[in-house]
Amino acid sequence: MAEAKKSVGSDNAEDILTKIENKSLKIESLIKQYKFIEAIKTALEGYPPLDERCKSANWIGVHKALMAIKDVEGMLRSLDPQYYDILMKYVYRGLSTGNRTTCDQCLKIHEKLTEKAGFGCILRSLADTVNTV
């Protein structure tokens, strides 16, 4: 019974990984077409996965979309407010990587996002220890 449950769980993870890979390819094609805002919206859609492998795979796609953004203010203007908290979580994940270019970009986005969404956004994204990215 436990083995059957485990195999179902791993199938789900494999399904999620496949979906994330397809999403990643979609994000890459949107970036090549200079549709950065659509790319970031695609990247932020979908509930953050629970599995660590899925989270890492998801982060790669989101990271590509975040690094491609040149006009941060424009991106935030066209983004729905419901995505602010998720974006802040990804920004903090980017800040923890230590990579210079990623951190520079994440700090720029963090500044503009805090201006737009306020300190509550930071607190909500840090305090949510269940749905981490």
């Binding site: 923890s96 230590g98 951190c103």
Partner: protein
């Protein structure tokens, strides 16, 4: 009696779960060399900083200067005597500090500290280079 034991056991597990969910850490990096680690717990907060050290001289100056400050941790109240492993300096802010001191001023102090540290180390480096140049010039005059 059995019900009481079960309820105590459940309370302990809930308490441990609560502590684990409250204790979290956030790592914020500016680049590979500069980072800040913030660790939270129920009644306190630990902020650890790693400052920029571009060369050997800055490395030595930063180490000496921050060790000087850490040795006088009582004067600062919120400073920790020993920095966390992998970092140069650590602050420990407890609930007592939040009650005695103003939170806004505390935050201002830490931000000001971070801004001044780079400036101080650059000034120290410049004064060491100037002194070294003067000494070398005087010494080489005899040749």
């Amino acid at each position: 009696m059995r019900k009481w034991l079960v309820s105590c056991f459940l309370c302990c597990w809930l308490w441990i779960f609560l502590i684990c969910s409250l204790a979290m850490q956030v790592l914020i990096c500016r680049n590979e060399a500069e980072k800040c680690l913030i660790e939270t717990s129920i009644n306190s907060l630990r902020i650890s900083l790693k400052v920029k050290q571009a060369d050997e001289l800055e490395n030595i100056l930063a180490k000496k200067f921050l060790r000087f400050l850490s040795m006088r941790a009582e004067a600062f109240q919120v400073l920790r005597r020993k920095p966390v492993q992998g970092y140069d300096i650590s602050f420990l802010i407890t609930n007592y500090h939040c009650e005695e001191l103003q939170k806004r001023k505390l935050i201002d102090f830490i931000v000001q500290f971070m801004e001044d540290i780079d400036k101080e180390i650059s000034e120290l480096k410049m004064s060491v280079s100037t002194r070294g140049r003067l000494v070398a010039t005087e010494f080489l005059k005899q040749f």
